[in-house]
């Protein structure tokens, strides 16, 4: 993954507007965060392969970045994004990593469903 170039990311978001997509949205503290120095209870959520279609997507901020997608009836939002890449099969992967390279957020869009199951 590369550090986010906001102009390039904006173009990638524009290219995917008004298309039927699969969304993977996730934030994570890690399952063991309650055992960390600050005893922060785990706070983890993910939704994978949710169908989404947005009218307008935008990247904002000066890094870490925010991305918002305005859908027909609502919003998809993420704050804390540091890295992005487009895969060979056309998925746009955005992520937020902490200073030690651990994932804090994943925000991903793909026309094809994200991999699931044993295969």
């Amino acid at each position: 993954m590369d550090e986010i170039d906001p102009e390039r990311l904006q173009r990638a978001l524009d290219a995917r507007a008004e298309r039927e997509l699969h969304l993977h949205l996730e934030t994570t503290t890690g399952t063991y965060s309650a055992m960390g120095p600050d005893r922060v209870p785990a706070c983890i959520a993910f939704a994978r392969n949710v169908r989404v279609r947005y009218l307008r997507g935008a990247v904002r901020g000066t890094g870490p970045y925010r991305v918002g997608l305005k859908t027909d009836g609502g919003w998809v939002y993420g704050d804390g994004l540091t890295h992005a890449t487009e895969t060979d099969d056309g998925a746009l992967l955005m992520a937020g990593y902490d200073e030690r390279g651990r994932l804090r957020m994943a925000f991903q869009l793909s026309e094809r469903p994200f991999r699931e199951g044993a295969a």
Partner: protein, 260 residues
Amino acid sequence: MSAAAASDGTRRARETGPEAVAGDAAKLPSPNVHGPVARRHLLVVLPHPDDESFAAGGTIAMHADAGVPVTYLCGTHGDMGRNMGTPFFAHRESLRDVREAELRAACRILGCAPRLMGLRDKTVEFEDPDVLAARIAGEIRSAGADLVITFHPGRAVHPDHDAMGEATVRAVRSLSEAERPTVWTVAVGDREALDAELGPPDVVVDVRAFGARKLDALRAHASQTTALFARMEEEGDDAEALRAQMERAGTVEAFRTWAA
């Protein structure tokens, strides 16, 4: 086990081995098992790539070296972990293949055959436990396993660990007496508290001859353990506790026999 995930040194040290607690490494239980126990097949049933090395790497290598077939039935690909390597080299979608390759390398080092069930990391507790148990029972039967190692249900910290242990003991319960293997469980957490609650482990395997291989297998899980090994080289109490725990991990592995 994703032991490298927690960030406090003392607590981190606690996760470097089952029942590892910083500061009491001196109180090693005396080993009472010095050679292979399974005769036909050892089946290890845990949810994540790296659980096998942390929980039973020495015991796996001991059996493999004695010519006993060993299979690691691994529930998930560890594909929802947050450790992506240090410095990071993986992302959410590539982590699955990264961890599968790491698992295959670790299994080559230990001498066991990996079998991946393909469940999604973090979701094991939401699967139908009877369906999971039936799959595991099928694996026990087809392998002809006479010894199974899994997590101690309800005493393994991570929800996937607890759920995999629960499904495995259900699987064993569903088998006829003739098919039923011995089950050893791995409890995770504060050793003194676990001993007080469950009694001390009745199986303590002497893994000294396999300690180096166990560490090599842990290193093979690079996306998860590079940071851990780096911290071991640091100065201070945290690193010292970590080194003590690694030394313990290369000396004994403790289990409790599950009464099916």
